[in-house]
């Protein structure tokens, strides 16, 4: 059941992105920033949590979820360590994904060459 919920919630969030791409002059870079910031704001307002509980990975895997995770990390950091925690909390909670992207990015660049498009 949770697999179906993840599929549907994740799919729908992506459809919102696709509709924006197809109907406006906004580019993929805009979508990334808008969705991410929306996640931070919705997470800060406490509105995104119910969607996470319902949709599981469908809510956390999209970039909106990354924003949500950043805001939750910042809030928890603020709660436990005050202002310093507001600064450290977001990145700390998401360090895994970011570090992985940097390391794997570097390794893939060493190992693979870009292929021409056909």
């Amino acid at each position: 059941m949770e697999f179906i919920k993840a599929f549907i919630v994740g799919g729908l969030i992506c459809v919102v992105g696709q509709v924006i791409l197809d109907n406006t002059k906004l580019t993929p870079a805009h979508i990334l920033v808008i969705f991410l910031t929306a996640g931070v704001v919705l997470g800060g307002l406490g509105i995104y949590e119910p969607l996470v509980k319902f949709g599981g990975a469908g809510a956390t895997v999209p970039i909106v979820g990354f924003g949500y995770s950043l805001s939750q990390g910042a809030i928890e950091g603020a709660k436990s360590k005050g202002v310093i925690g507001a600064f450290t909390g977001g990145l700390t909670a998401n360090a895994g994904g970011v570090a992985a992207a940097i390391l794997f990015g570097y390794i893939m660049a060493l190992v693979f060459k870009p292929k021409t498009k056909s």
């Binding site: 459809v15 990334l32 990390g73 977001g90 992207a101």
Partner: protein
Amino acid sequence: MENMNKKEYQKYAEQQVPKPTYLKNSLMAFVIGGLICLLGQIIRNWLVKNGLDEKAVGGGTAIILVFIGALLTGLGVYDKIGKIGGAGSLVPITGFSNAIVSPAMEFKTEGLIFGVAAKMFVIAGPVLVYGVGSSVIVGILHLLLKKG
């Protein structure tokens, strides 16, 4: 071009472009985005089963998905997925990974420092700037609003 002014021409030009295949695009975005999130759910469950706590599950899922996105980018597969899936491949965290790995690979010809390392965040940089920046503000606001 005396007959048509600039605004009229721009409007006319836009009408000449074939409209996107809206339904097909949204359907593919739904399916591909849904499948990637489904994969994320499977990974989550597997990590929970292996006894990791909530925080580690979140981090672990992100790391594994980032790896998958990176590998598919390296193999030259992710751009094909992106062509079909549109937002369905852009929005999930694998899209973030693709946005980092693809310029890193592309600019290898300019060297490991000024190419790979410097250009790695040329697409994804705004994600970190706006994400981290706004999260700090949210954290501080939380403190201020709780105190007040």
